[in-house]
């Protein structure tokens, strides 16, 4: 759909990439895996004049576990994340969330940085990363800063990334004792979520983040705080679910009306919190949409 010459720049180092980004600012559309950008281009929603590819930048594909922390490079693919032994062992809910995105063909291409920078309300990773209290690393030629997912994603396809910054990676703190990601699809197995619930229990703390129901991932710390220290039994789970459902202002799309999303949010939050109480059998393959460890591919 594009017209006219589009310049394509593919620097080999992060410094070069940052320099180009700083020079061209928002005129340079950053290309990561291209799965989302390709759709936008094909449909003519955007007509960029300059494309800045991070595909050749050394070091951005790394996934490493260091000092108990998980570091995901911006160019690590979904498939890299879901298959990485360290992620599967230490952060199984994150591995699971990346493993249920779209199809394997898409996951081989789509990246960690791309999905976060797109800030699409119906993506899986933001909610699960938020529930793990992940920090997104934004770098400019002069500085680096870290922001939470809740700061990064401001609205529909809108982030806090400045025009001279690039999203270079994600840092995830040591995993909570138990975390789950439930992807509720109202349609095909390859569809985006209608309601996505990530829940984590770290010590006494409960974190619940609901994705795909509003412009940004939804978390209500006051609801979670009221549940802190209580056993995540059915009654507590129902209460948290009900309160989340009351508080969200759901959107409507082809995957469900606002009223439907509110109702499913109550059910899925309840199920996620209940699942926190369950101990996943070691090495067992978690059922689709359920929490826990992913089995062998």
């Amino acid at each position: 759909m594009s017209t006219g010459p589009v310049s394509w720049e593919a620097p080999a180092t992060l410094d070069e990439a940052l320099a180009l980004r700083a020079r061209h600012g928002d005129e340079a559309t950053v290309v990561a895996g291209g799965t989302f950008l390709g759709i936008l281009l094909n449909q003519g929603f955007i007509r960029p004049v300059r494309l800045l590819s991070l595909g050749r930048v050394a070091g951005l594909r790394e996934i490493e576990v260091a000092g108990g922390e998980l570091r995901l490079g911006a160019m690590a693919t979904h498939r890299n994340v879901e298959r990485h032994p360290g992620v599967r062992e230490g952060w199984p809910a994150i591995a699971h969330a990346f493993s249920v995105v779209a199809s394997r063909r898409v996951r081989n291409q789509a990246t960690v940085g791309g999905v976060l920078a797109d800030a699409d309300y119906a993506s899986d990773p933001p909610a699960v990363l938020a529930a793990h209290d992940a920090r997104v690393v934004l770098r400019s030629p002069a500085a680096e800063r870290e922001v939470r997912i809740s700061e990064l994603i401001r609205g529909y396809y809108e982030t806090c990334i400045a025009s001279e910054e690039l999203l270079v990676g994600v840092r995830v703190p040591p995993a909570p004792q138990r975390a789950v990601y439930r992807k509720f699809r109202s349609r095909s197995r390859e569809d985006r979520p209608c309601v996505a619930v990530a829940a984590a229990r770290a010590g006494d703390e409960l974190r619940v983040v609901v994705g795909a129901v509003a412009q940004t991932p939804q978390a209500f710390p006051e609801v979670c705080a009221a549940a802190a220290g209580r056993r995540p039994d059915r009654a507590l789970a129902e209460e948290v679910g009900r309160r989340y459902a009351e508080r969200i202002e759901p959107l409507a799309d082809a995957r469900g009306s606002a009223a439907y999303r509110r109702r499913v949010t109550a059910v899925e939050v309840r199920r996620a919190v209940e699942a926190l109480a369950e101990e996943a059998p070691d090495g067992a393959r978690a059922a689709d949409g359920r929490a826990g460890r992913e089995g062998r591919p």
Partner: protein, 697 residues
């Protein structure tokens, strides 16, 4: 390594319509109306670069109307009758340049009121789309079209069989239900593609089409040419499912090529596919009466079939939908009133199943409601009323080679229906083949074997392989010795079209005659032709609906998350009557493909038409089924009979899938009336069951 038998579709050797090129050709892009209904006041192309050729309304003012069943289409639309209607076109040296130039064409529109629902479109005061569309006389095998003057009804098909008032008076139980189905996209992998070239006043069009001869007739009428001065070549298609039937892009590229004096090619993009041809949404009201013992006595169907902005083959769809909705049952008193209705949506046309899915959904869901009221098993109710050999259908014709009971029983057995019907549903259907129709074929000797000249179009269904296999059996040679070139109206004899699962059946019979001719005449060339007479009187529905019946059944087993309405289909089975199987692997793939499309229709697929703009015109938002959506048990069978003739089976397993799934839900007390069966609709049905206090079983 020798690549014998490697599928050219896999190696990339297969050339499709999108691959056709001619020297000096230009590429076309279309200027489409953003409005659902608007007068085109002025087209200003002054900003378009001089290297481009622009087709504007004045260029086509002298060209006649076209349309396979109603002549209601022009090369360029004026007024625009749907968002996406082509109001101008540009040809340029590259596709990109053409698209850029098309954006520079300024069109001044004056918006008109629009209507997006077929029931609303027949209400008094609805905006009218076509003041004076004439029935097409061009299609030699067209049905008698019955437009209602001064309305948006472009065709009314009726069946009057027996006396329904008397029939209902005999009924102990009467059920009346209304159902709806959504519009759907065919979504073939290859988009529409066509290339037109003029030489000495003669027009040649290479186009991915299922209807080369119908397209030739329409283009000849449009440009005022003799049919022999139009040549249609039909390369293989990368899928069609009915999307590539009748004139689609061909008229615009032909007019552009004429103005440019050079060949012009168009390849649509995915978004354009969603505004080119879709499946008819329908609203269907069913009223059915039975005696206490389950004997059906009367049935009424009222159908509103949304054909969009142009009739296309909507009259044919409304007709087939009308009689398929009667179902494969003996019912002494039947009334059907089926309307093909214009709305300001993209045109709807042929789609695998051709109307049967819509009315089978309504009719077969109603059968289970009736069974529930009568307190009999849905399987038993069907068995008690199924048509058998020698029975008379509502059209008055006597049924032959009838296998409904075998298909139904096979489907029921596949899910253990008689052991425990809970969570399980059945559907049985009858579907007709294009009648009347003609098929002809030429067989010629070549140095290595034989060559078959046939207008049977390859769209992935395997028509060439089925002809080779039938030819090899008749000619006593290897299939590899038989060459089957692309259909070409200059060199292949007339065939009605490659639709309605008719080609293996009809062309196979013609081939037997051609081989006999070859053997007897000693000339190295044989000709065979089959002519099927028949057709229905559109005012009474009496006559011969189909010379050959497509018969099938499906069974489903489901599980429901009643807190979210999410349905898991555990088993899905289809049983399709095949008569004699020609190409087993191909036939099995047809069943599977039909079932997958049926699954999409049942669960996911719906065009979001809102106020006339298709909001999900892409394959990200428009939800097609993926491999992961197939049930754990996804099975099918070909029901065969010794000595039977070849039966068409390219579509039969699609229409019964939605109703089988809907009836499985109904067995759990979940009554869903509208397709697709979204999780949200199922949750509403859960609420409805609790509200109604209806017994689950």
């Amino acid at each position: 390594m020798i690549a014998v038998g490697v599928d050219p579709r896999v190696t990339g050797a297969q050339r499709y319509s999108v691959d056709v090129e001619r020297e000096g050709m230009l590429h076309a892009a279309f200027v489409r109306s953003p409005h659902a209904h608007a007068e085109v006041r002025e087209v200003d192309a002054s900003a378009v670069p001089a290297e481009c050729v622009v087709l504007v309304p004045e260029d086509v003012a002298g060209l006649g109307p076209c349309g396979c069943q109603a002549r209601d289409q022009h090369v360029l639309a004026g007024p625009a009758r749907y968002a996406g209607d082509v109001v101008a076109a540009v040809a340029a040296p590259t596709r990109e340049a053409a698209r850029a130039a098309a954006r520079l064409v300024e069109v001044d529109y004056e918006e008109r009121p629009a209507v997006f629902d077929a029931v609303a479109a027949v209400a008094p005061g609805a905006p009218l789309l076509h003041a004076d569309a004439a029935a097409s006389a061009q299609d030699a095998v067209s049905i008698g079209v019955r437009p209602l003057a001064g309305t948006n009804v472009c065709h009314r098909f009726q069946i009057h069989h027996g006396d329904v008032a008397a029939g209902f008076a005999e009924a102990d139980v009467v059920v009346e239900e209304a159902f709806r189905t959504a519009g759907a996209a065919h979504a073939p992998m290859e988009p529409h593609a066509a290339l037109a070239e003029w030489e000495d006043g003669r027009l040649t069009v290479w186009t991915g089409t299922q209807t080369p001869f119908n397209t030739r007739t329409d283009l000849a009428g449009l440009f005022g040419l003799a049919e022999e001065d139009v040549r249609i070549v039909a390369p293989p298609m990368g899928g069609s499912f009915g999307a590539k039937t009748f004139v689609r892009t061909e008229a615009v590229v032909a007019a552009l090529a004429r103005k440019a004096g050079r060949p012009v090619k168009v390849v649509l993009d995915r978004t354009e596919e969603f505004v080119t041809l879709n499946r008819h949404p329908a609203t269907i009201r069913v009223r059915i009466g039975a005696r206490r013992d389950g004997t059906l006595v009367a049935k009424e169907l009222d159908c509103w079939v949304d054909t969009g902005a142009y009739a296309d083959c909507g009259p044919g769809v409304a007709t087939k939908l009308g009689y398929a909705g009667v179902g494969p049952y003996r019912i002494p008193h039947v009334r059907v009133d089926s309307l093909a209705v214009y709305t300001n949506l993209p045109p709807n046309g042929a789609y695998r199943g051709y109307g049967a899915m819509q009315s089978v959904w309504a009719s077969e869901r109603t059968m289970d409601v009736l069974a529930d009221r009568l307190g009999v098993s849905p399987l038993e109710l069907r068995r008690r009323n199924l048509l058998h050999d020698g029975d008379r259908f509502a059209t008055g014709e006597v049924m032959h080679d009838v296998q409904f009971e075998r298909c139904l029983q096979a489907a029921a057995d596949a899910v253990g229906y008689e052991d425990d019907p809970r969570g399980k549903g059945l559907c049985v259907l009858l579907k007709g083949m294009q009648t009347p129709s003609r098929a002809a074929i030429v067989v010629e000797r070549t140095p290595v074997g034989f060559l078959l000249r046939s207008a049977g179009c390859e769209m992935g269904q395997g028509v060439r392989q089925s002809l080779r296999l039938q030819g090899a059996a008749l000619l006593d040679c290897e299939p590899g010795q038989i060459e089957v070139p692309d259909p070409d109206t200059d060199t292949t004899p007339y065939d009605t079209r490659t639709t309605s699962s008719r080609t293996t059946h009809m062309m196979g019979r013609a081939l037997a005659e051609a081989v006999a001719d070859l053997r007897s005449n000693g000339a190295g060339r044989g000709f065979g032709e089959i002519v099927n007479e028949g057709g229905l009187d559109p005012d009474t529905g009496q006559g011969v609906a189909s010379t050959h019946w497509h018969q099938g059944a499906a069974a489903a087993r489901v599980a429901v998350d009643e807190e979210t309405g999410k349905v898991t289909i555990r088993d899905l089975h289809a049983a399709v009557y095949a008569g004699r199987v020609v190409h087993r692997e191909g036939a099995e793939l047809q069943n599977e493909g039909s079932m997958v499309m049926g699954l999409g229709t049942a669960m996911f697929e719906a065009l979001d038409v809102g106020e006339g703009q298709i909001a999900n015109a892409n394959l990200s938002d428009y939800n097609l089924p993926a491999l992961g959506d197939l049930p754990a048990r996804f099975t099918h069978e070909l029901v065969e009979r010794e000595g039977a003739e070849v039966h068409g089976l390219g579509e039969t397993a699609l229409p019964p899938v939605p109703a089988a799934i809907g009836n499985a839900l109904y067995s759990l007390g979940l009554d869903v009336r509208e397709l697709p069966i979204t999780a949200e609709r199922v949750l509403d049905a859960v609420d409805g069951r609790e509200g109604a206090g209806k017994a689950a079983a």
